[in-house]
């Protein structure tokens, strides 16, 4: 059963913690990313509101921290997310979670 990464992007502030902890965990060189924050906006909406969403997206280097999983740890991005808006689990578990609220996404970077 594949695992999945859940991100509640309503609360992702774009603080780079996931990117940097992943770089450190996998010892990636400069310019390399295991997870990359993509930003939509800021874009003005009609009623004086603003659209401004950050979505961390796992790259092809992401193996969902297989090594950490063996030692009973979460992936380093989930572990270090200051907004606790990242979760990890089986696709089944995360699909139940994702349905609980809007502005959520689950990624299956590797099967």
């Amino acid at each position: 059963m594949a695992n999945a990464l859940l991100i509640d992007y309503e609360y992702c502030t774009g603080c780079h913690a996931c990117e940097v902890s992943c770089k450190k965990e996998k010892n990636l060189a400069r310019g390399q990313w295991g997870i990359k924050i993509l930003t939509d906006g800021p874009r003005e909406l009609p009623d004086d509101k603003w659209e401004f969403n950050n979505i961390p997206m796992p790259t092809s280097l992401c193996d969902l921290c297989a090594e950490r999983l063996e030692s009973g740890k979460d992936p380093s991005c989930v572990h270090n997310c200051p907004a606790n808006c990242m979760q990890f689990g089986t696709v089944e578990e995360m699909s139940k979670e994702v349905a609980k609220k809007g502005n959520r996404v689950i990624f299956v970077p590797v099967v």
Partner: protein
């Protein structure tokens, strides 16, 4: 969360994980900020290899910001200082000779004793940056080793970081208030086992907490509260992530926060939304306050603050009508000459709405186990005559009231320039880099410090300040290289040393070494652990669960008991009576202390000295309102600037933000280097275009120097090239001595071309005597001279 790894080690503070040793402790700057997060250090044969957040620590619950995650890069940075250095070339030549710590201490001892003999201990000035290691250790060294009363921030004009707000709170409420995010409880956000309730509304007032993690406040707590239903109002000139998710974003003109607060008070009073019960029982001077705010209709504030009136009205209602609401405020309240008045006005907002010491409001907070060591630690070892000689003692709020007793930084600068009231012969700087970061009018500061006879710099790396002025440089130890203990509000924390500090010295170590050379009687311990044991046993109340460092390390942190509505239970006043620690026993909206010392007891808006309203002709030449120093995720002030660090990868160059129209009108495109200039000087940063900024406002970054660049003068790591403090003034403070206009100046911006970039600021300042300005004798301020001949 499959965290059984951490459940397995829940009760341990140190364990083996493969060939890693894992240590549960907390971190404190440097590197990184002063939030004291819980960390797990992974070390291998004494070298720090990885840092993780400690899921057990209630402060940050396992998460970390990127600054701690990248800590190993900074701790193991090959360019760090490793050995004490003695200057061999001229100041600025960057020529050093490695010496032993004993040789360094000999030089220091000899110098100090000579100053004692020829001048007097007060001729020594001691400075620290923003709360490094501990902010009580170096003050104690000043008082109890050098015997000088002159301890202050590193030329932070008007001490305008948290001191103005804390002085205002202390004089108005008798205590300090912070936004209630359940950080005072060990089980967080727990509405069953604690009285905590999630704030209905959170106001981000000039504070982008998720980025800044300011004053012991882990910004993402706000996101935790959002996830539990909190709505938000954000007051900020720029569209922050928090503003984009707020019900109201009040895009305020920099420097007009007081007017906005008074207009909100006006609305609350006019519509009778105040908490009548709380006001009548616990406030003093509500009528006077309402009368003072009477003319501040939202329409008038709209004019001043560039925010439309009905948004002000609706935001005030939303705040007042919430059954509990918390205000998280930041530096932009301090960084204006009207700082104390602005702080009083915002303090009044949570007061008249009854959000005082209530669950989910602004709670009264005190240091854990009343360990109140701060800038006053060791002050009473000085005789009254020496205490009276403190520079800036003419400002009562600073000295007599003992609120945050430090010398007045601007006065120290003038003393160096004029030797009035007495000369300054020696300057000690621990973990502060004034000409790069804190010091307004950096070129003036550069000229002044060059004249000081003997300068010691104690820091983690060779900074422009060290190269420009230091006769002696002592390498500072970083967080994982020192044993320490600390409380700032709560909890009480210990920091366990996990890797060898080599010849780097923690503040506690160097203070102890210097102290035992000069006044051994004041230093009855050998090393940092000895000092910690002294503090734990003598400077904390009896409720503290451990009395020595070894036991403390077993627990890592301890939370004191917390009660809401302490004023009702007589838990605030010395006499045990209900009420607040103020002359009237009430929150003094009409501030009797301030009246006593001849200050205006009520808040009032004052235009910044350089604004389109107060100075139209200056605005003719410099039409853009300039605010400075907005934080970024990647840096803690001027730290983490080395080119190979991940911080520089994510944030390679200094950026100034301007609106689409402002850029287009000047033919400027995204990514262009541009000059930012006003009547005092100029610097260059890279233009980034914002869709959301007011066309008349620009936001420049602070703290930029370039370790990869040439260290020796004239380049000096390019410290003046992008230094926004070329444009800010020293010695322009509020009448209380607090506050300085860092965040509300005027400027013009134009594209860098080959012609107009011949003479870069660093060369201009270090070779051509800075921006040509004459001193204005009358108030020690700088007359507005010829801008520059660049």
């Amino acid at each position: 969360m499959t965290t059984d790894y951490y459940k397995k080690h829940w009760d341990e503070v140190e364990w083996q994980d493969g060939d890693y040793t894992v240590t549960r402790t907390t971190a404190w700057s440097a590197p990184g900020c002063h939030d004291g997060c819980g960390v797990l250090y992974y070390t291998k044969d004494g070298k720090l290899e990885k840092v993780e957040g400690d899921p057990k620590n209630p402060f940050n619950r396992g998460s970390l910001c990127m600054r701690c995650v990248m800590m190993p890069e900074v701790v193991n940075n090959p360019e760090r200082l490793k050995k004490p250095l003695k200057r061999v070339g001229e100041r600025g030549e960057n020529k050093w000779e490695e010496i032993s710590i004993d040789e360094a201490l000999d030089i220091i001892e000899e110098k100090v004793r000579a100053i004692w003999r020829d001048y007097g201990p007060e001729s020594i000035a001691v400075h620290i940056g923003t709360g490094r290691d501990n902010n009580d250790v170096i003050p104690r060294m000043a008082y109890c080793a050098f015997g000088t009363p002159n301890f202050s921030m590193g030329y932070l004009a008007g001490d305008s970081c948290f001191c103005p707000r804390s002085a205002s709170m202390a004089s108005t409420n008798g205590d300090f208030m912070i936004a209630d995010m359940s950080q005072q409880f060990e089980n967080r956000y727990d509405e069953k086992s604690t009285e905590w309730r999630c704030p209905e509304v959170i106001v981000n007032w000039g504070c982008n907490a998720v980025v800044s993690n300011s004053d012991n406040f882990f910004g993402h707590w706000i996101v935790d509260c959002m996830q539990r239903g909190a709505k938000m109002i954000t007051i900020d000139p720029g569209l922050t992530w928090l503003a984009a998710r707020s019900d109201y974003w009040l895009r305020v003109r920099p420097g007009t926060d007081c007017a906005l607060a008074m207009a909100m008070i006006h609305v609350i009073a006019e519509e009778g939304l105040e908490d009548k019960d709380f006001v009548s029982k616990w406030c003093y001077g509500f009528d006077e306050l309402v009368e003072r705010c009477e003319p501040w209709t939202p329409e008038r504030a709209a004019e001043v603050c560039w925010v439309d009136a009905d948004k002000i009205r609706e935001a005030a209602r939303m705040y007042a009508n919430a059954n509990n609401a918390a205000i998280q405020w930041g530096l932009k309240v301090d960084q204006t000459t009207n700082a104390t008045a602005t702080a009083n006005a915002i303090n009044a907002l949570w007061t008249i709405t009854g959000n005082v010491d209530v669950p989910g409001g602004n709670i009264i907070i005190r240091n854990a186990f009343s360990q109140n060591l701060s800038y006053g630690y060791g002050w009473h070892s000085l005789s009254p005559e020496v205490q009276a000689k403190r520079l800036g003692s003419e400002f009562p709020l600073m000295s007599r009231a003992g609120y945050s007793s430090s010398a007045h930084a601007d006065s120290v600068l003038k003393a160096i320039e004029t030797s009035e009231p007495y000369p300054i012969r020696m300057v000690w700087m621990s973990a502060t880099n004034p000409i790069a970061n804190m010091g307004a009018d950096a070129p003036r500061l550069y000229r002044a410090l060059k004249t000081v006879d003997f300068v010691v710099v104690h820091d983690v790396s060779l900074t422009p300040t060290a190269v420009a002025f230091a006769d002696l440089v002592i390498p500072a130890a970083m967080s994982p290289e020192r044993n320490s203990q600390r409380c700032w509000w709560v909890p009480h924390r210990t920091m366990k040393k996990v890797c060898d500090s080599g010849e780097c010295y923690s503040d506690t170590n160097i203070a102890t070494l210097v102290g035992r050379r000069l006044k051994p009687e004041n230093w009855p311990w050998e090393d940092e652990v000895g000092w910690i044991n002294n503090i734990l046993s003598t400077e904390s109340d009896e409720k503290i669960p451990y009395r020595n460092f070894e036991d403390a390390c077993k627990q890592v942190w301890a939370y004191p008991e917390f009660q809401y509505r302490k004023y009702e239970k007589g838990l605030l006043r010395f006499d045990g009576q209900p009420g607040f620690n103020t002359p009237t026993g009430r929150i003094e909206l009409f501030n009797t202390n301030m009246m006593l010392w001849g200050y205006d007891p009520l808040p009032e808006h004052k235009e910044p000295s350089c604004s389109p309203v107060s100075n139209p002709e200056l605005a003719e030449k410099y039409p853009l309102v300039l605010t400075t120093g907005a934080r970024s995720f990647e840096f803690f002030h001027s730290e983490q600037r080395h080119a190979h660090l991940t911080s520089r990868e994510l944030h390679p160059q200094p950026k100034v933000e301007m609106s689409v129209k402002a850029a287009a009108d000047r033919g400027i495109k995204e990514g262009d280097w541009v000059w930012i200039e006003n009547q005092r000087g100029r610097c260059r940063q890279i233009a980034t275009i914002s869709l959301a900024l007011d066309d008349r406002v620009v936001r420049a970054e602070h703290g930029w120097w370039f370790p990869e660049a040439e260290a020796a003068e004239p380049n000096l790591f390019g410290v003046f090239n992008s230094n926004i403090n070329n444009l800010t003034p020293q010695c322009e403070n509020g009448d209380t001595g607090f506050g300085a206009p860092y965040a509300n100046q005027l400027c013009e911006i134009y594209k860098c071309t080959e012609e107009n970039s011949q003479d870069l600021p660093s060369t201009h300042v270090t070779r051509k005597d800075g921006y040509s300005k004459e001193m204005d004798e009358t108030n020690g301020d700088v007359k507005v001279g010829v801008v520059y001949n660049g």
